[in-house]
């Protein structure tokens, strides 16, 4: 699969790096005790520190540091036992302190790695440059009053992890895979809920283009993109825009751009010349962050099974394909569900049911697997009913549909609706004989097996007559015998 983009002057390669802002899962903020719950009334989760009242001082929330370290460990990254909090100075109405406390030169987490799962089971490693902790700003609301801006400080001071990748991605697909994989990892370890719609995860996208093998081009940064799809669209637009500019004899200027979702275009926000001078310096209100190696080891020991480990285990222990295993680990809840279904059963069957009928049903209903009307236990029971010949695979589909609607127990549904498979050879034989007798034309067509496909038609007829309850294997066997 070529990732190159063709232009008038030949092929171009796009180079992508991502800066992801992930909201740390924590009950309180990075430097204050205020709550962090999403969707609260404006300005109800604001401490004196968050509002930058005179004389107020930040105190680091140890749990947020733990979450950052946990994330670093999950990204197989260097944990820096000594790091510094800096002030990033700029004025804005929703930045009460007039600076954001962040980490500049010495972040808590250094280089790491993330393995992307691409199409057809391909993988690719993307480097992590660093991860640092910082405060979120408040929210300016410009649509509440004709001439005034309202400010909600609920988000002010909420802990974010900024996770910076190396410029290792070469296509929008890879960028999408990166975001999905990162989100999966964060959800597995519980350090960020990865909810892009609520703004728990946002991405700044750095894009440049170059001739394959040539030197890196000038990059543009697309700020604050809030869905995987928009990130991919923005990259595609931006790469094409840059190629067009260069091929038309122009030059790319380093600048910050915004992605206009409605128009599907990126627009210049400010150029390098207009860029803020953030005047970073170490925050004198905070001591350097020093971590005890034993504490880091403890966090490491407590890490849950990570998606890549789980994927390998599912392939090894359950014989799943790379693709199926990838799907099963894409969200922690799917893996848990699958493992419950597959335990002690045919894993291929379990996998087919989960990725096939179950996902289709969840999609149709627009619910997540945790809200699935069909519990893992009930889906397991359904598979058991097939395995012990209580119902046929076809009937199972009908039972499943009922389970989706009612959330009921499959055995009870089979019982109540009388869907139990018929294995009474005499009864099946009766139907077979009748159908053979009534359809001499098809019998002739079958021609004693010269035209074997026709047997399928006979099976269909028998199943229809038995309302799908006849055991298909028995039906096949009898037909073959009787048709000679």
């Amino acid at each position: 699969m070529s990732k190159l983009i063709s232009g008038a002057t030949g092929e171009w390669e796009v180079v992508i790096g991502l800066e992801v802002h992930a909201q740390v899962t924590s009950n309180s903020k990075l430097f204050s005790g205020a709550a962090t719950e999403f969707g609260a009334e404006p300005n109800t989760q604001v401490s004196l520190v968050d509002a930058a009242m005179p004389g107020m001082l930040p105190v680091i929330n140890a749990y947020c540091v733990e979450q950052a370290v946990r994330t670093g460990l999950a990204l197989d990254a260097q944990i820096n036992l000594y790091s510094i909090f800096d002030r990033k100075n700029y004025f804005y109405a929703d930045l009460p302190q007039g600076y954001q406390i962040s980490q500049y030169k010495q972040p808590v987490v250094g280089e790491g790695i993330i393995t992307l799962d691409l199409k057809d089971g391909e993988t690719k490693e993307v480097g992590i440059e660093r991860l640092h902790l910082e405060q979120d700003a408040g929210k300016s609301m410009h649509d509440q009053h004709p001439t005034m801006t309202y400010v909600d400080l609920n988000r002010s001071g909420v802990a974010l992890m900024e996770i910076v990748s190396k410029p290792d991605m070469r296509s929008s697909e890879e960028a999408g895979a990166y975001l999905k994989k990162l989100r999966t990892i964060l959800r597995y370890i519980g350090t960020c809920d990865g909810n892009m719609e609520q703004g728990s995860m946002r991405a700044d996208v750095n894009v440049s283009v170059r001739k394959p093998g040539g030197p890196l081009g000038t990059r543009c940064e697309i700020k604050n993109v809030n869905s995987v799809r928009f990130v991919q669209q923005a990259i595609e637009y931006e790469a094409r825009r840059q190629i067009d500019v260069i091929e038309d004899g122009g030059k790319i200027v380093q600048e910050t751009r915004l992605y206009d979702v409605a128009q599907g275009v990126t627009r210049s926000m400010r150029s390098k010349e207009e860029a803020h001078d953030y005047r970073y310096f170490p925050d004198p209100d905070l001591l350097p962050l020093e971590l005890d190696p034993a504490w880091v080891d403890e966090i490491k020991a407590g890490l849950p099974e990570l998606p890549d480990e789980k994927k390998n285990r599912l392939m090894r222990d359950f014989g799943l394909s790379v693709y199926d295993a990838g799907v099963m680990v894409s969200e922690p809840e799917i893996g848990v569900y699958f493992e419950e279904v597959a335990k002690g059963r045919d894993p291929k069957q379990a996998s087919n049911w989960v990725t096939g009928s179950l996902f289709a049903a969840l999609n149709a209903k627009g619910v997540s697997i945790t809200e699935s009307p069909v519990t893992a236990a009930n889906l397991g029971k359904l598979i058991d009913l097939i395995a012990d010949n209580t119902i046929s695979g076809r009937i199972a589909k009908d039972v499943f549909e009922i389970m989706v609607e009612t959330g009921g127990d499959p055995a009870a549904i089979v019982e109540e609706k009388g869907l139990k498979q018929i294995t009474d050879t005499g009864f099946i034989e009766g139907i077979v004989d009748r159908i053979i007798a009534e359809n001499p034309g098809q019998v002739a067509q079958y021609d004693g097996g010269a035209n074997p496909k026709v047997i399928g038609w006979f099976v269909g007829q028998v199943m229809k007559q038995s309302q799908g309850k006849a055991n298909p294997a028995q039906v096949n066997e009898l037909l073959k015998k009787k048709l000679g």
């Binding site: 005179p54 105190v59 109405a93 005047r279 970073y280 004198p284 209100d285």
Partner: protein, 493 residues
């Protein structure tokens, strides 16, 4: 009842204990003095009702045997400490009408120990100045005047604190010291003032000037009172990440008068050209007192002293430029409307900050700017480390260091206002200890030719305030500083 206001804190505590008078009586005497002393312009806010209420509570506590170490003692609070429900201005226009819904940790400690608040006292705007002339509420007068009756500044930035204590408008006052703001006004007003080790007093609830330097401390009439007040002010505070968790001793017990065998360092670099002979003579006298008391004098070198002032005037404005960014007119204090957000900022900050504050914000913004950071801020931090190492090495050889507090006695109003550099030079002896974070105290030790007080400074190892107080106490005894300013402000009233 005028004699009540002549008592020291130690004396008043003893009188209260013995039932010779009540805190209400003591407080009433001071309220009267505060009213009589308005010509000094020391107070930004007087809180007589609150004072009497607190005095009554203190009296009740004493009756029930719950008297704290400062029970019933009327104090003035530098208007940089946030006081719950009481106007807190930092002597700046930009904090117009600001009444904090919280109490600073240091003042909360004082109230916990039974102290009484007389009101808030003036300072240089945001503690930036050495003369208390940059206050939005007008300059503060030094109660001391020259022998021929000329007015003098009280020093700064804790000028209101020093003026109030020297004029007997309060028994003691809180101050804050970033580069000398407790020690220099104490020297100018004939008082004791100690800046403890950085981290000894919580900064929580004190309006920040330069966070890595700011430290609270008391200004009192003598060393013993400073020891009493400091004990109440100091203490670990989990709300301040730079606060240090180490026990607070009873500093009064350190005042034994016995410094035999103690090694006192005399830094050669502090003998600067142009220092007035009065100041040098007093320093020599101090050295002699030390010898007389059985201490050993050791000549030491603090080689990076000459860079201290330049370093300070990079680090402090840099931090200030960031600390003062929050005064933007959005949430509290002054707001001057504008056509858009940037205009509102410009109008508010342009009107709200005085000239000196604006100057320091500009300097600080400049030294942190891209392309200048390494040459200024980073280099200053490196020199700061060298200055701290100078002291570390010196304290390997000596137990305390003796220097003058300021290069002159109190100067005339307006004398240095148009020349910021000469104003900054006033901090030359106090700034090094601030940069190193070590404790320093000024003790009144003599009178200059013009009839104004002069102080000597004692520096000590980190968290060895006891040694500093002990040595200061010996100087105080030897100097027998009994001079008092002539009371002119009552006539003015």
């Amino acid at each position: 009842m005028s004699e009540l206001t002549d008592l020291t804190i130690a004396g008043a505590l003893s009188g209260l204990d013995k039932g010779e008078f009540t805190s209400r009586e003591l407080t009433q005497a001071y309220i009267a003095e505060v009213e009589n002393g308005r010509a000094l312009n020391a107070f930004t806010t007087e809180t007589p009702d609150k004072a009497l209420e607190m005095a009554d509570a203190a009296d009740a506590a004493r009756r029930s045997g719950d008297a704290g170490p400062l029970n019933g003692i009327p104090l003035a609070i530098k208007d940089l400490f946030c006081t719950k429900g009481v106007l807190t201005t930092a002597s700046s226009h930009i904090l117009d009408g600001f009444k904090p819904p919280y109490e600073s940790s240091v003042t909360a400690n004082l109230w916990r120990d039974g102290a009484v608040m007389l009101g808030k006292v003036s300072l240089d705007e945001f503690a930036m100045g050495s003369s208390n002339e940059t206050s939005f509420y007008g300059p503060v007068q030094n109660p001391w005047r020259t022998t021929d009756g000329k007015a003098r500044v009280p020093g700064g930035s804790s000028g209101g604190s020093a003026a109030a204590v020297a004029a007997r408008l309060a028994m003691g006052a809180t101050g804050t010291d970033t580069g000398g703001s407790i020690r220099q006004p104490a020297s100018f007003c004939g008082l004791a003032g100690i800046k403890p080790t950085y981290g000894r007093c919580s900064r929580w609830g004190i309006i920040a000037f330069a966070s890595s330097l700011d430290q609270a401390g008391p200004i009192t009439r003598n060393v013993e009172d400073a020891a009493i007040m400091l004990r109440s002010m100091a203490g670990y505070d989990p709300k301040d990440s730079t606060s240090i968790n180490t026990p607070v001793p009873d500093y009064r017990k350190a005042l034994t008068g016995d410094i035999r065998g103690l090694k006192i360092g005399i830094p050669q670099e502090y003998r600067m050209d142009g220092t007035p002979p009065d100041v040098l003579a007093l320093w020599d006298r101090g050295i002699q007192w030390m010898k007389d008391a059985g201490a050993q004098i050791v000549d030491i070198s603090l080689p990076h002293t000459k860079y201290a002032l330049a370093t300070y005037y990079i680090v402090a404005p840099a931090e200030a430029s960031s600390n003062l960014a929050r005064y933007d007119g959005v949430r509290y204090g002054l707001r001057e409307q504008g056509g858009n957000l940037i205009e509102m900022y410009e109008n508010t900050r342009g009107a709200g900050f005085g000239e000196e504050v604006q100057r320091r914000i500009l300097i600080g913004t400049y030294v942190l700017s891209a392309g200048y950071y390494d040459a200024y801020y980073l280099k200053a931090q490196k020199v700061r480390t060298l200055i701290a190492q100078d002291f570390e090495q010196a304290f390997g050889r000596v137990d305390a260091i003796l220097t003058p507090t300021a290069p002159c006695s109190a100067f005339s109003p307006g004398e240095k206002s148009d020349d910021p550099i000469s104003m900054y030079l006033n901090d030359v002896f106090t700034v090094p200890a601030s940069l190193a974070g070590i404790p320093g105290m000024s003790v009144p030790a003599g009178i200059c030719g013009a009839g104004l007080p002069l102080g000597l400074q004692i520096l000590g190892r980190p968290f060895e305030e006891e040694t500093v107080l002990k040595v200061g106490h010996v100087i105080e005894q030897a100097a027998a500083f009994g001079a008092r300013p002539r009371i002119w402000w009552k006539e003015a009233a």
